[in-house]
């Protein structure tokens, strides 16, 4: 039979042969490692699904191989009990097709497998026959991690094999870089040495924010582009239309205006609306414009997403934004409303401060940070005038976007705010 490279997990469709551990003519056992395969994630042993004698090896070290490629040809052995040198029959493993199951099928179990831990009230080790315990010892498998399928939780050979396959699969799976690991310093510091302290556990939300920003900060090479927009005209218009909006139950905020304005540069520079798929090394351009809005809640930062910003009127955006922000503060938004953003706007202007450098919200490629608009003397038409200037920062992922594009994008955004079309304010037929 021909032994082919099995599918080992998501994003592990190919790899480079680093070690071939068998030679032609070798008699190999089922589950014996044929070769080791390296991909971006790990080096993994590829076991033989059957026992037999190798006729031909079809790959060599250094080859890049893909799923389904033939690795070796071998003559299968009869599944008769093997007699070892000591004259005792060896354990014969029940026959199985051997190859790991497709990733999708086992994925859900894999998640469970990570968590499983056998615990008996009586404190005894998990039930397994001596032969299985011996096998586990040989392989260095902790049986308390293996979920037994038989009555009383007894562990069978199949359970151990499934467990190993899941482990292998997990080894190949995309790892969202151990979140907790980043957060934990090697040892605890005793701050009470220098004065009294109060300790409080990090909330789950805080931990999520910490993990996500940490991950983004350590994987995304950030570039920060600063600028200012003259929003005097925009504010004039807002002043004019705000009461009207108010009457209809919508607050006309600068964030809503920024949402509307951001679509213009986004459409012109699609890379800012794109994401990098790290596992496939593809740039994914999105044809929808869902913009996340950072909301300051009592428990921390939450970023709900306003969908299809390009297709909504300023009025609709204002109303939706107010409503979503309110629900977010009450922690009533659903997980679905927090996903799918293509760009994020973080407006701290309501609080104060000028430029700040927001962190890209992975897997988005850019984030716009708005400070507080303040009156400043600016030179216009060779005259010093007092205008309301809005400080802003564009943070973006340098893996996708270069500095020139960054400058072009922020200029176009500034333009969109400065030349905001009054038509946008009008309530069509409302």
């Amino acid at each position: 039979m021909d032994v082919k490279l099995p599918r080992l997990g998501e994003g592990a469709d190919s790899g480079i042969v680093v070690n071939i551990l068998v030679s032609e003519g070798d008699r190999i056992q089922k589950d014996q490692t044929i070769l080791e395969l390296e991909n971006e994630k790990a080096v993994a042993p590829i076991p033989s699904p059957v026992s037999g004698t190798i006729q031909k090896i079809h790959v060599k070290e250094g080859d890049e191989i893909t799923v389904g490629q033939v690795l070796i040809s071998l003559v299968e052995e009869e599944a008769a009990p093997q007699v070892s040198a000591t004259g005792k029959p060896e354990t014969t493993f029940e026959s199985s097709k051997g190859l790991p199951r497709p990733a999708a099928e086992a994925k859900e179990e894999a998640v469970l497998a990570k968590e499983y831990r056998y615990e008996a009230k009586s404190g005894v080790p998990p039930p397994a026959s001596p032969s299985i315990r011996k096998l586990a010892r040989d392989l260095g498998i902790d049986l308390t991690r293996v979920q037994g399928s038989e009555p009383g939780g007894r562990i069978t050979l199949k359970d151990v094999r499934d467990y190993i396959q899941r482990l292998q699969q997990m080894a190949f799976e995309k790892r969202p870089v151990s979140r907790e690991a980043f957060l934990r310093p090697p040892e605890s510091i005793d701050f009470s040495k220098w004065g009294s302290v109060t300790k409080k556990r990090m909330s789950p939300l805080r931990r999520t924010v910490a993990a996500r920003t940490q991950e983004a900060w350590s994987t995304v090479p950030h570039v920060f582009q600063f600028d200012e927009a003259d929003i005097s005209a925009l504010l004039e218009m807002r002043k004019k239309y705000a009461p009207l909006y108010e009457k209809k139950g919508a607050r006309l905020t600068l964030t809503a205006l920024a949402l509307k304005a951001a679509v213009v540069p986004l459409k012109k520079h699609p890379i800012f609306n794109a994401s990098l798929d790290e596992s496939t090394q593809e740039i994914v351009y999105k044809e929808y414009y869902h913009i996340g809005v950072a909301v300051d809640t009592e428990s921390g930062l939450i970023v709900p997403v306003i969908k299809d910003v390009d297709r909504k009127s300023l009025f609709d955006l204002s109303r939706e934004l107010g409503e979503v922000a309110e629900r977010t503060r009450r922690r009533e938004v659903s997980l679905g409303e927090l996903q799918g953003g293509t760009l994020t706007i973080s407006n701290l202007g309501g609080i104060g401060g000028a430029h700040f450098t927001p962190i890209v919200y992975k897997p988005q490629s850019a984030v716009i940070g708005l400070g507080q608009g303040t009156l400043k003397p600016v030179v216009r038409n060779n005259q010093v005038e007092i205008r309301t200037m809005l400080p802003m920062t564009l943070s973006y992922d340098h893996r996708l976007i270069d500095g020139a594009d960054g400058a072009r994008f922020i200029r176009d955004f500034v333009e969109a705010l400065q030349n905001f079309n009054e038509e946008n304010f009008k309530l069509e037929g409302k």
Partner: protein, 480 residues
């Protein structure tokens, strides 16, 4: 003289030592086995398990004959020929000893007779009949075993004060025999002498005989002893012994009452001590605990990386089958296999009348450790086979983990319990549930049925008993 070079040297040819030597040889190692006694086999074969069981079998007929009268067959008083009994017993030991020697030869295990003494971590000096021999080895396995303890207060240098070793020689049948210590050795040998006609008094320091066995398993043995022995005295301490003519004067204390009594012989069975003295362990890195046993890790490696220790000398249960298992563990470790560090089940058998056997968790142990278990019991008075054998004085019990119904321990008292316990070992080792045991058809009429019925008791439907309280999940299942 050029020292002998070998990969493995095993010191002591008992059930641990010869098992280790043979297994290592089977795995292709060059092995030298050193034994100071002429006959291989260690204490087990020469002055333990085998001779005691030979004697127990011989005397069994006397008891059978007595009870047979009620069943309609009667015999005259038995005539006892101690010399023939000894010779028969010796013939077994010779056969087994020669068997071991033959097996060693066929495996090319070199056997050296003589006392071994460690010169350093890699050299053993052996005092053979042909003079000193030195062995350079890569790995040493100490399997020198243990010997009966003889407290100095009892050690009068008088042959009337015996240990099990001398008692098994069966020099005479004393009229009055005092057995100091109601453990399994004292009770087994007490049974032998009592059946042969001695008036046996057993003195035990604790409040029960057969320490380690569950009280309900001990009860039938205690009943037998009370009838067959002159007396079983619990919570009694032997203070002193002195030679008094052809007798031994023994001073005992029981609840502050001090008594002095005369016995024709005294059998001291107060435990065993390791045979570590004069081995030259001080020339190695081997360490010993405060009881004198060699300290070992889970793979039986001593503090000296080149030396392992197995069996009695490494402490724990002083049982031949434990030693034999440890031989495998040590040799596997030496040959680089992942060897068993996890706990395995060591069954225990006491060859009293009736026999007591258990494996895995005992009820007392569960109680001690505060473990939540359920116990199912099946009395042999409900077993047809036990009645046909005229031995209804038995009990089979299972210790069960309630959530999983897994069998954690098995305890049996009754005729042939020692043979029955192996099914329990298999059940515990395989992680069997009470359901597994209940669903295995056991042949009728046999004593083995008591195991199946006991599992059925757990579910509340044992045919031959009626359980008011159902502990298993039968009801739940019926509801589904």
């Amino acid at each position: 003289m050029e020292p002998l070079k070998t990969q493995i040297v095993v010191l002591g040819a008992g059930p641990g030592g010869y098992a280790a030597a043979f297994y290592a040889a089977d795995k292709g190692k060059k092995v030298v086995l050193v034994e100071q006694h002429r006959r291989l086999g260690g204490v087990c074969l020469n002055s333990g398990c085998i001779p005691s069981k030979a004697l127990l079998h011989s005397i069994q007929l006397i008891r059978e004959a007595k009870s047979s009268t009620l069943r309609g067959i009667s015999f005259d008083e038995p005539r006892i020929d101690l010399a023939r009994m000894r010779a028969w017993k010796e013939s077994i030991l010779d056969k087994l000893g020669q068997g071991i020697a033959g097996l060693a030869q066929r495996r090319n295990v070199e056997v050296l007779h003589g006392r071994g003494h460690f010169e350093d971590s890699r050299t053993l000096r052996v005092e053979t009949a042909e003079g000193q021999k030195f062995i350079n080895y890569e790995t040493g396995i100490i399997a020198v075993g243990s010997k009966p303890a003889m407290p100095s207060a009892f050690d009068l240098g008088n042959k009337r004060v015996m240990t099990s070793t001398e008692a098994l020689e069966l020099e005479e049948i004393p009229n009055g025999l005092l057995v100091v210590g109601g453990g399994y050795i004292g009770m087994e040998l007490g049974t032998v002498y009592a059946t042969l006609g001695s008036k046996v008094t057993v003195v035990e320091l604790l409040d029960s005989i057969l320490l380690g066995a569950d009280p309900d398993l001990v009860r039938p043995v205690m009943r037998y002893a009370q009838e067959a022995f002159k007396e079983v005295r619990l919570k009694t301490k032997v203070l002193k012994m002195a030679t008094s003519g052809r007798q031994i004067k023994v001073t005992m204390e029981s609840e502050k009452q001090r008594t002095e009594e005369l016995y024709d012989r005294v059998l001291v069975c107060v435990g065993r001590v390791s045979n570590c003295a004069d081995l030259g362990l001080e020339n190695t890195k081997v360490e010993r605990d405060d009881k004198g046993f060699v300290k070992v890790d889970a793979q039986k490696r001593t503090a000296d990386p080149a030396i392992f220790a197995i069996g009695d000398v490494a402490g724990g249960a002083l049982l031949a089958h434990k030693a034999a298992r440890e031989a495998r563990i040590a040799v596997d470790a030496i040959t680089g296999e992942a060897s068993s560090a996890d706990a395995f089940v060591i069954p225990a058998v006491i060859f009293t009348d009736p026999e007591v056997a258990w494996c895995g968790l005992t009820e007392s142990e569960a109680k001690e450790k505060g473990m939540q278990v359920q116990v199912a019991k099946f009395p042999w008075s409900a077993s047809g086979r036990a009645l046909t054998l005229d031995r209804p004085d038995g009990l089979t019990k299972l210790i069960i983990e309630p959530e999983t119904e897994r069998i954690l321990g098995v305890g049996i008292v009754g005729a042939g319990a020692g043979e029955l316990i192996s099914e329990g070992v298999l059940a515990v080792e395989m992680g069997a549930t009470a359901r597994d045991l209940a669903d295995c058809v056991h042949p009728h009429p046999t004593l083995s049925e008591t195991l199946m019925e006991c599992a059925e008791v757990f579910y509340g439907y044992s045919t031959h008993t009626f359980a008011r309280k159902r502990t298993g999940t039968l009801l739940k299942e019926a509801a589904r």
